[in-house]
């Protein structure tokens, strides 16, 4: 790569995309520390922070300190606007830091000043530098207050529109999963663990020589310009019944909403990694179940062998959903049975809904949540074809942007 940035001394591995992992803010830094550097031999690490003291303690090789005399090195003070202003000031520097990379991972905890302010700008810079940008972010715990929650949500929206894919982990979700008595350190370790697993999963996808390889191009094709929130899961199991166990774990995975995320997705990437003893039957068993879960999705599959894993089978799943506007409809439909029930409860005199129910018994009900108007077909019987309402304009269902 002739376009190598002087800041980075990336170990050159031929045929592999160059990956940069950039941590933003204190939380990002903590996540970065959790990534064992031996495994990520091919990646370059960097940390960006507004807090000089925290940055000094960072394990990253490259440290970018965003500062302004006005802030006296005290950081952004929990204000994303400050973080954003600093990042925009140094936009060209951020961009040059991402130059030459094929993939940029952004690790951040949203809600604070640095993470929420800088990451969207960084994502934009990296995207402009020509890299595929994947953001791995956490949302704050509920107890951290409404302000941080709101800041995190705004930042997430901005990040979604700037990055190619965002894998987001609401900490509160994890909080509910772990034991009450676990210590603070442990809780952070677990939440961080989920995200680092994500980074590791995507990393191994790209770096390990595959039997059925997932190329960088596949990943780009799946994620590029979707600007969507992705669901992500990494599961592993070992022993003789590992394929079955893995499937079970996938279907019960909290980050996939017990498999619901798969049903709603429109593109799914599945990567299987195991020792040398990986059999076709195992791949088949896992894929069969995944395929059954996501009927509408385009599936990209990869498999690779890693002697170091011994008898473990690891599966990484990334499910990309169509952009929010169009995902409203299928979701409303899929929950229609319960949803219409509760709805008619609240508003018993809804003539249209009721009439439709009596005319044809097999008609799927729809919540009147859709912002998408069906124009002249509003009052006619919906044209349903394999769960899709064909009356809704095609370009909306396919999420084609009209700028």
């Amino acid at each position: 790569m002739e376009n190598q940035h002087p800041l980075f001394e990336t170990p050159e591995i031929s045929g592999q995309p160059s990956v940069r992992i950039i941590a933003v803010g204190n939380a990002g830094d903590a996540l970065l520390g959790a990534l064992s550097t031996t495994e990520f031999a091919g990646a370059a690490f960097a940390a960006i922070n507004t807090d000089a003291a925290a940055l000094a303690a960072s394990s990253a090789k490259v440290k970018i300190h965003l500062e302004n005399k006005l802030f006296r090195g005290l950081g952004s003070g929990g204000d994303p606007e400050r973080g954003k202003a600093l990042a925009e000031e140094q936009f060209s520097m951020l961009k040059s830091a991402c130059e030459g990379a094929n993939v940029v991972f952004i690790l951040a905890g949203l809600g604070g000043g640095a993470g929420s302010g800088i990451s969207p700008v960084l994502a934009k810079a990296a995207h402009e530098a020509g890299a595929l940008v994947l953001a791995f972010v956490t949302l704050p715990f509920e107890c951290e207050g409404n302000r941080r929650e709101a800041q995190a949500q705004t930042a997430l929206e901005q990040l979604k529109s700037a990055a190619d894919g965002v894998i987001c982990l609401p900490s509160q979700k994890i909080f509910k999963l772990i034991d009450e008595n676990s210590t603070l350190v442990e809780t952070f370790r677990v939440t961080g663990g989920f995200l680092t697993e994500g980074v590791r999963g995507v990393w191994s996808l790209l770096s390990r020589p595959g039997i059925i390889p997932v190329h960088f191009g596949d990943l780009c094709q799946l994620l590029r310009d979707r600007h969507a929130e992705n669901a992500f899961a990494f599961v592993e199991a070992s022993g003789p019944g590992r394929a079955r166990e893995v499937v079970e774990k996938i279907l019960n995975h909290p980050l996939l909403d017990e498999g619901r995320a798969l049903a709603e997705s429109d593109a799914v990437l599945v990567s299987l990694t195991a020792g040398k003893d990986l059999t076709m039957a195992e791949i088949n068993r896992v894929m069969e179940q995944v395929k059954r879960q996501c009927v509408h999705a385009q599936i990209v599959m990869g498999a690779s062998a890693d002697a170091g894993l011994q008898d473990k089978l690891c599966v990484t799943i990334i499910a990309a959903r169509q952009n929010a506007a169009s995902s409203v409809t299928p979701r409303a439909e899929s929950h229609s049975a319960t949803a219409t029930a509760t709805h008619s409860h609240r508003e018993p005199a809804l003539p249209r809904q009721r009439k439709r129910g009596t005319v044809a018994k097999a008609v799927q009900g729809q919540l009147p949540l859709t912002i998408i108007s069906k124009g002249r077909f509003d009052k006619s019987e919906p044209t349903l074809h394999r769960g899709e309402d064909l009356d809704i304009p095609t370009f909306i269902r396919r999420g084609v942007a009209m700028n």
Binding site: S373, K374, L390, P393, F395
Partner: protein, 407 residues
């Protein structure tokens, strides 16, 4: 009564227009189109009636026009039906030959056909048309007429097209309210394919797609028989609606834009182009991006073809369509539709022309009238087969006519 009349009329009540074609059959059975009447249809959505009064009014106007032009009185019509409720599927009937000498008689053939028709339809559905495919005698494939052959077991494949009985009755009642009798009811797709395809094309295998205002019908032929048929309740109206929504213009304006600037494949010339919409004083109201317009249209039309292609693939017929795809209906007038269809189907695509009928060339060359012309042709084939031997001529039979009390 009307059976010996040489005037045959085909009526199609479509979403965008009601059209009636009048044909005259001479003593040799040759068909000549002598009249055509059409009226803008206002009471139909997605191929089904939603306002009977308006439809009746429009229907009378169309009949009047056709009668004027042909200078005859139309007393009965062959009625074309469509709508999202119509389905086609294949069913096999089995009949053991029990006669002592194992010779297959006409009674055996009638029995096996009856068996093939005895299918589990939903209670509210009724059969519109059934098309006999091939007979099997003791497993031997491809027998077209088994009478006189020896065998122990006779089987037949039947393509059955069925639909919702009440919705079909609605149309029939409406036509009869205008004091016309309905000779028979035919699925529009079947009628269209009769008008468009020659016997050679049916032998080779062909897919006929009729893109109408509210519905798109398709029928697949191979080896001379109908293998598959179906309706998508998506048509030109959907294109207009998409445009109205996507470009944020009223529906009537969207319709106009579709006709003036629409293409099935985004063009190079359209990129970066804008059209300005002006009000009646000539002041600019809005600028429309041509690229968006074409993209929205292209996506919708492409989807229609993709859904049909998927259906065909599932029926395992894709490789049998050796004569290619034939397009007709008002929707097929869209510029660039043929290359789009070629892209999706990876087959030869031809804009359809009514063949094997003579008469008014103006009517024959229009893709919109293919269904109505096909209905007339269906009627002429029925007349001919009645005067000659029964069955084996058209192979297609309607059942609705029999259900209707004749007056």
């Amino acid at each position: 009564m009307f059976d010996d009349s040489n005037i045959i009329a085909g009526l199609e009540i479509g979403t965008s227009k009601i059209c009636i074609v009048v044909g005259e059959q001479n003593a040799d059975g040759a068909l000549n189109i002598i009249g055509l009447g059409q009226a803008r249809s206002r009471g139909v959505r997605k191929g089904e009636i939603c306002n009977t009064e308006q439809v009746e009014e429009d229907l009378r106007a169309a009949i009047f026009e056709a009668e004027q032009m042909a200078d005859v009185e139309i007393r009965s019509v062959y009625l074309g039906v469509s709508g999202g409720h119509i389905r086609g599927f294949n069913n096999r009937g089995v009949h053991p030959v029990v006669s002592a000498d194992r010779e297959i008689s006409q009674d055996d053939v009638d029995d096996v056909v009856k068996n093939a028709k005895a299918i589990n339809l939903p209670a509210e559905n009724t059969i519109i048309n059934h098309v006999r495919q091939h007979f099997y005698v003791d497993g031997q494939d491809g027998v077209t007429n088994p009478v006189g052959m020896l065998g122990a077991r006779l089987e037949v494949d039947m393509h059955v097209i069925h639909g919702h009985a009440n919705r079909l009755q609605n149309v029939i009642r409406l036509v009869r309210a205008t004091s016309l009798t309905v000779d028979d009811v035919v699925f529009n797709g079947v009628a269209t394919s009769l008008a468009l395809l020659t016997n050679e094309q049916k032998e080779l295998g062909a897919l006929v797609i009729d893109i109408g205002g509210g519905t798109t019908e398709f029928v697949a032929y191979s080896d001379g028989i109908i293998r598959h048929s179906g309706v998508l309740a998506v048509g030109g109206d959907h294109v207009s609606n998409d445009l109205a929504y996507g470009l944020k213009v009223p529906l009537s304006r969207a319709e106009k834009l579709k006709l003036e600037h629409g293409t099935a494949i985004p063009t190079e010339a359209g990129r970066g182009q804008t059209i300005s919409i002006t009000n009646e004083l000539g002041l600019e109201l809005k600028r429309i991006n041509v690229e968006h317009l074409q993209k929205i249209m292209s996506l919708r039309l492409e989807e229609i073809f993709q859904l049909i292609a998927q259906d065909l693939e599932q029926a395992g017929l894709t490789d049998y369509m050796r004569a290619g795809v034939f397009l007709c209906g008002g929707g097929s007038r869209v510029r660039g539709l043929v290359p789009l269809a070629e892209n999706v189907f990876q087959m030869n695509v031809t804009p359809g022309h009514a063949c094997a009928v003579s008469g008014l060339t103006a009517a024959l060359d229009q893709p919109e009238f293919a269904a109505a012309i096909g209905l007339v042709k269906y009627g002429s084939l029925r007349n001919r087969s009645r005067s000659a031997r029964p069955s084996f001529v058209t192979g297609i039979k309607g059942v609705f006519g029999k259900l209707l009390p004749r007056n």
